[in-house]
Structure formats: structure tokens, C-alpha cells
Symmetry: C2
Subunit: 171 residues, 2 copies
């Protein structure tokens, strides 16, 4: 898992509507083993939210902004995966898919049609409509074979898993 670098690109972020959904995407990226989230529009609220989580819970997950998704995707050096309900069902996909740099693209309801032809794989986390947050999480969970959830983060605080109740240790 260490050699792999996973970048998540979230397309179509709308400043007025998508702060929470994009923040969930960023948090999922961080918790499920990706290294960074790239947004195609500037929304520093998403970045600030993640920076705060990093500070408290550890890790160096990064949020950054680009202006032109087309040149970003076109120029990406690695395996490009687009998550879409129209793609091949993830149950029919043979893992592992990529070895070093991996780009995982999630969109909203409408993505630019060109994207389908610009990637190596169009993968459906099921062929039913649901959620880009869920699609990203399940994809990364399958991609890393669950090991991403055992990863340790070094932050100011840490959960000690409990059968009942909450236990958080602060350093």
C-alpha cells in the first residue's frame, strides 16, 4: 500500500451546494488510503475542514484546486479510473488495477461526456444510482482489500476501539 499514490479528482463541485458532499469525499479519501483530493473549483472551506481533521487526527491528506480538469486528466501519469454507474460493475473487475500512481475520478449527476474516453477504466460500484461518497469508499475498500482501515494515523488524538461507548486518547 505504501508505494501506491492515489489521487481523487472530484468533478463538478458547485460552491453553493456541494461543500458538505465534497467534504465527505475528502474525508473518505483520507480515511480510505488516498493521498489527495483535487477539486475543479476553488472552495477553501473544504480544504480548511480537512486541514483541521489532519491536525487533530493525523496524516497529511491534501486538498488542492485546479482550473482545467481536461489538462489535469490528460496529463496524469498513471492509471485513470472513473467511477460511474454506467461502467463495468466492480464485481466484474479484476483487481489489482494500478500499481503506482492512480487517479480516481468521481463526479456528480452530470459529468462531461469526454471523460469516459479519457480514462483506463469506467467502473460502476453497482449500476444503480446512489452516491459519489459511497462509490469512492467502496471502490477504495476493494482496491486496498480492506487494509486501508487498519492504517495508523499519528495525530493529537486517537480512538481506542470499544464494544460500548467512546474512548479517545489525546497526546
Amino acid at each position: 500500500m505504501n508505494k501506491l499514490k492515489v489521487t481523487v479528482l472530484r468533478l463538478g463541485h458547485r460552491f453553493e451546494r456541494d461543500k458538505r458532499i465534497s467534504t465527505h469525499i475528502a474525508l473518505v479519501g483520507r480515511a480510505f488510503g488516498a493521498q489527495e483530493l483535487v477539486l475543479d473549483s476553488r472552495d477553501s472551506r473544504v480544504k480548511e475542514g480537512i486541514d483541521e481533521v489532519n491536525e487533530n487526527w493525523g496524516g497529511g491528506f491534501r486538498v488542492r484546486f485546479i482550473e482545467n480538469w481536461k489538462s489535469f486528466v490528460g496529463g496524469f501519469d498513471g492509471t485513470k479510473i472513473h467511477l460511474t454507474m454506467y461502467g463495468i460493475n466492480i464485481n466484474d473487475v479484476k483487481f489489482p488495477l494500478g500499481r503506482e500512481n492512480v487517479l480516481v475520478i468521481v463526479g456528480g449527476k452530470k459529468v462531461p461526456p469526454q471523460i469516459y474516453g479519457m480514462v483506463d477504466y469506467n467502473i460502476a460500484v453497482g449500476n444503480q444510482p446512489h452516491s459519489e461518497v459511497a462509490a469512492l469508499a467502496v471502490f477504495l475498500d476493494r482496491f486496498f482489500e480492506g487494509k486501508e482501515l487498519d492504517r495508523e494515523f499519528e495525530g493529537k488524538q486517537r480512538v481506542i476501539p470499544q464494544r460500548r461507548g467512546k474512548k479517545v486518547v489525546r497526546y
Copy 2:
């Protein structure tokens, strides 16, 4: 999978803020093999959204509202699972967990502390903060061993999975 009935309870839905997140939760429940979503406050927008998805894409996923989560959870006849980042890491949980009626509880940032003691399992989809939408999806994907994503829905339209582009058949 057919004998199992999975109900999702979403606690702490706030009318002003949570329509989209709760709608994502409902869509994930539907796409990942649950039968219904129960909300602890009335928000017919969530129900309307899902009814429309059912009509187009099939299935009988139901959204309903309750007034008292405590009596609902207390009276639930089956296996009760609370998804929380403070629980036992899902990687350390032995599946299968429940055989017939299963209740999966997801909350937001703050859940009533009593809930931890009212359930059979407090399970963490990783012990890092992320998203109740993601937690539900990954939990159900593990619970159903991925088979939920092969399920067929009979609706007015259906995706024919493609390597490139979109193909939807309408009936």
C-alpha cells in the same frame, strides 16, 4: 440474501441541513441491499426523492418516519448494529452478524450516548472520522459480501454496463 431484511435508521436528521446527506443514505441503502430507511424526523423530500428513483429504476425501497427512536430501537426484534468510529474496527468483526432482521444505525456527528448500550454491535468502518454515507455503504458491502451489487432491479430503465460511455435501456 433474500431472507434477510435490513432496516437503516438514520439518527439526528436536521431538516435545514441534511436533506442531501440523508438522501444519499437512502440511495445507498437501496442500492446496497437494505429494504428501508427510517428517519427520526419527518422530511418528505427524502421520501419523494427515493420514490422517484424507485419508479424509474425499480425496487421497493421505503422511507418512513418515526417520532421516538428510543422505543423504535428498544422494540426492534433482530440484530442491532450501530456504525460509529468509536466501535470495533470492521476488519476485526466476524461476519455473518445477523440472520434475519437487521437494524443498521447511522448517526451524524453527535448521537445520543445511550445508543451504544442499546445495540448488539458498535462497529467502526475504520476509526477515523469520515462519512455516515460511506460507512453505511462499506458496511453493507462487507455484510452482503459484495453480492448486493449484482442484484437486479426491475424498473422503467436499466443500465447496460459499458467500458466507455453510457447505455440505458428503457422499457
